[in-house]
């Protein structure tokens, strides 16, 4: 099976039409190694704007590495990543690709937001400032504007009354919903969700997933999601990618992957997690 999987071609239905269907993210022969362990092996794949793409697969198959490469928390050993047609960590100089400077990286990176498994809220800031600090400091919004937007987002995630709390005073589920609001406040084109419910107590998972379902169904933000919540993946995804050993084993609509997968490996994995 080819690892080259242009997602926009695989999508037949139009129940969730893409924003304009253009290519938002492209991985081109991306290799990532940790020591001698090859996590991603010349990975090619792309995501069309407006799509909700879920990455599934056994642990160690490189799913989280993809998100961390996109967020520039890791550096690829080989290959290139493009966002909106711009190289993420490279620049073209005299026809040659060279590592990009901080300014270029930040310009491309501003389109990307991320929600982490462990929330990673800033404990030294109250909830409201967790959300407003980056819009004010990085985007240059006025404080009033950022405050208003933050309060709207807090209402949306059901935490309108927690603006003045410190993160440590919130439950894990509440912290994760604040983290979602914080990421959205930067108005990214694409939201990376890295196992966002894995660190939560079981009874808190539903609240976070409801918020994400809401976002998936009411906004045109692109989502790239690593999750073990297969029902959630089935609900929100336009596309599911099954990873194994650093490559895309197969991809397709959730109906196809969960209902009638091509590969035995996919079948085994799904029967283990479902």
């Amino acid at each position: 099976m080819s690892a080259d999987t242009p997602l926009q071609n695989d999508h037949d239905g139009n129940e969730n039409p893409p924003v304009d269907g253009s290519e938002l993210i492209r991985f081109d022969k991306v290799t990532k190694r940790f020591g001698s362990n090859v996590v991603l092996d010349e990975l090619d794949f792309s995501v069309a704007s407006g799509k909700h793409v879920t990455l599934i697969g056994p642990s160690g198959s490189g799913k989280t590495t993809i998100l961390r490469l996109l967020m520039t928390l890791l550096k690829a050993d080989e290959g290139t990543i493009k966002v909106n047609g711009d190289y993420l960590t490279h620049e073209e100089k005299n026809g040659k690709l060279v590592p990009a400077g901080e300014k270029h990286v930040r310009e491309v990176r501003k389109n990307i937001g991320m929600v982490f498994q462990q929330f990673n809220l800033f404990p030294n800031m109250k909830v409201l400032r967790n959300i407003t600090e980056a819009p004010v400091t990085v985007l240059g919004l006025s404080k009033d504007e950022a405050d208003q937007r933050a309060r709207e987002l807090l209402d949306m995630v059901g935490l309108g009354d927690k603006a003045d709390a410190y993160p440590t005073q919130l439950s894990g589920g509440q912290q994760q919903r604040v983290a979602i609001a914080r990421a959205l406040a930067m108005r990214p084109q694409v939201l990376l969700l890295d196992e966002v419910t894995s660190a939560l107590d079981p009874e808190l998972v539903a609240g976070v997933l409801d918020v994400l379902r809401d976002i998936a169904h009411t906004t045109d933000i692109t989502m790239l999601c690593v999750t073990h919540e297969m029902n959630f993946a089935r609900d929100i995804s336009d596309q599911v990618l099954m990873f194994d050993s650093g490559r895309v084993l197969e991809s397709g609509t959730p109906e196809k992957i969960f209902g009638d997968p091509e590969h035995d490996r996919t079948r085994e994995f799904l029967s283990a997690v479902l």
């Binding site: 928390l73 462990q118 809220l121 993160p167 990421a183 930067m186």
Partner: protein, 245 residues
């Protein structure tokens, strides 16, 4: 015994000089601690290297000899420092080197995930440092800074040997004049202890405020005062205060 006149003309000003030297050297030391400490986390190897050289040199230098050098040797290079500033500089330069290790270590102890969250929100490196890493490292710096500040206070006694009239200088004068060696040095020990204790109480306040600023509950300090007020939890509190002091 000591005449009250001697006390007011020598000892009181001496205490004031000791406090001044401590405050000025602490201010210089803090500036150096943050400057060198931050430089040692720089992405540029040359900055890290130079800051590391500073740290190694001044950590390995005797404050007393450096003070002599600044007082006696620097004039040969055409630079005559007032005795008190020679003392303040020598103390600030050496204690600043120790302090830089506290700054570097506390910054390194901030969870890497916090840095990643800062990157994900597209902060610059300097913004991450200013808004996320330093505010979170600060509460961790306060207790070791407290130790260092007390070391510095006691180290200020060295300035008496380059003719700065601090309280050790006054004590020596008094001893020479009266031969009351035991009471004089006992008094000096008590005075240094009282000043050190005041510093500790002050730094406890700073620490509590710093911890509240990162959303942590202010800890029961378990110091002597709280032990007197609540004897019930004295066992646990006692062991905590032993570690903290």
């Amino acid at each position: 015994m000591m005449s009250s006149e001697f006390f007011t003309t020598w000892f009181l000003p001496g205490i004031w000089v000791t406090i001044q030297v401590t405050v000025y050297a602490a201010a210089l030391g803090a500036a150096i601690a943050f400057g060198i400490g931050l430089a040692r986390t720089s992405q540029l190897w040359i900055v890290r290297f130079l800051a590391g050289v500073y740290f190694e040199i001044f950590r390995g230098m005797s404050a007393l000899v450096l003070m002599f050098w600044m007082f006696f040797a620097l004039p040969f290079f055409g630079w005559q420092l007032v005795p008190m500033w020679a003392g303040v500089s020598a103390l600030g330069l050496t204690y600043g080197a120790y302090g830089s290790e506290i700054v570097r270590g506390s910054l390194a102890a901030v969870a890497p995930a916090q840095k990643e969250a800062g990157i994900a929100l597209n902060f610059t490196r300097w913004q991450r440092l200013r808004l996320i890493e330093l505010p979170q490292a600060w509460p961790e710096m306060v207790p070791p800074f407290n130790n260092l500040l007390i070391e510095l206070l006691k180290g200020t006694a060295l300035v008496s040997v380059i003719t700065v009239a601090d309280m050790t200088f006054a004590g020596n004068l008094l001893r020479l004049g009266t031969n009351e060696t035991t009471p004089v040095f006992t008094l000096l020990l008590v005075l240094y202890f009282v000043l050190a204790f005041l510093i500790t109480r002050g730094m406890r306040l700073v620490e509590r405020r710093a911890k509240a600023g990162v959303g942590q509950r202010p800890q029961k300090t378990g110091g002597i005062t709280s032990r007197l007020s609540s004897r019930g939890e004295s066992l646990q509190a006692g062991s905590q205060s032993a570690g903290g002091m």
